[in-house]
């Protein structure tokens, strides 16, 4: 049996005013228009509406309270709210389920960043150092000068 008090975050002795306030607050939070396309919020919006439909109606509430009391008395020990009744528990369960994908995406990002750092820290390739370039240029100038000299004096 769904515990509508848990869905609205209320105690069993909540007044009609408390129920209205809780419903207004949660229906704003989980309104599907605010979170379009998100099935999680659609689902919770329906649960919140169903809870208010029962608890907000005095005659329905009486019948529901009677059934809930009997349901709870059947259980030997008090059970903590299940994830279907508590949005926080449901979200934590959802987070656990999505953790592997979350880690994959985060690791890919870190890998991409460390690869970029490695590449930018690499020194620019240097085949011809400054000294080698000077030596080559000197060789070119000296050989041209030598050729010119020999041609002039050879004639």
């Amino acid at each position: 049996m769904i515990n509508y008090y848990h869905i609205l975050g209320l105690d069993r002795d909540a007044t009609a005013e408390d129920i209205k306030k809780a419903y207004r607050k949660l229906s704003m939070k989980f309104h599907p228009d605010k979170n379009e396309g998100d099935k999680y919020f659609e689902e919770w919006s329906k649960k919140v509406n169903a809870a208010f439909e029962t608890l907000g109606n005095p005659s329905k509430k009486v019948g529901y309270d009677y059934a809930l009391t009997h349901e709870l008395e059947k259980k030997e020990t008090a059970q903590p709210p299940s994830s279907t009744d508590d949005p926080q528990l449901a979200l934590l369960k959802e987070i656990r389920r999505q953790l592997p994908e979350y880690y994959d995406a985060k690791n890919n990002l870190e890998l991409a960043r460390s690869n970029y750092e490695r590449l930018t820290e690499q020194e620019s390739p240097l085949i011809i150092s400054t000294s080698k370039a000077i030596f080559c240029i000197f060789g070119i100038v000296a050989s041209i000068a030598g050729i010119c000299y020999l041609l002039m004096h050879g004639k």
């Binding site: 999680y40 949005p87 987070i95 995406a105 970029y116 590449l119 020999l150």
Partner: protein
Amino acid sequence: MIIFCLVILFISVIYLAVGLYTQNELRQEMAVEIEAAKEAINEAEEQFEEFSRPLLERIAIVFGEETAADIQNETIAPGMPEEFLLLAWGDPEDIDSSYVRGTNTETWYYDPEETENGQVKYLTEVVITNNRITGIQNN
């Protein structure tokens, strides 16, 4: 003698030309690799954002914007459920567990560092009691 000078000239020119050409090619290749790495980062950031944004939005709505901001900034605090620690800091390097009188206590170890003796010590320890963070210790 002229032939000798011509040979020196030829060798110097060829050496300089080939060397500069090769160097230029390698630098261009490196620039292309760096550009590709930048694009890879942008792509990975987009993918991570696409995945994490809805999750953080839900956390903001259900647990509060401050909590969602803390997780995004990789900040944890006592009272947080262990799932938030996993989101903010990832899996721990090591875990010690104990179960006493219905209470499950775990110590999660992060930031390993090798000591001079070659042993591993952990710079951060997080104590988790019944799935909630109850203590954080920086060593």
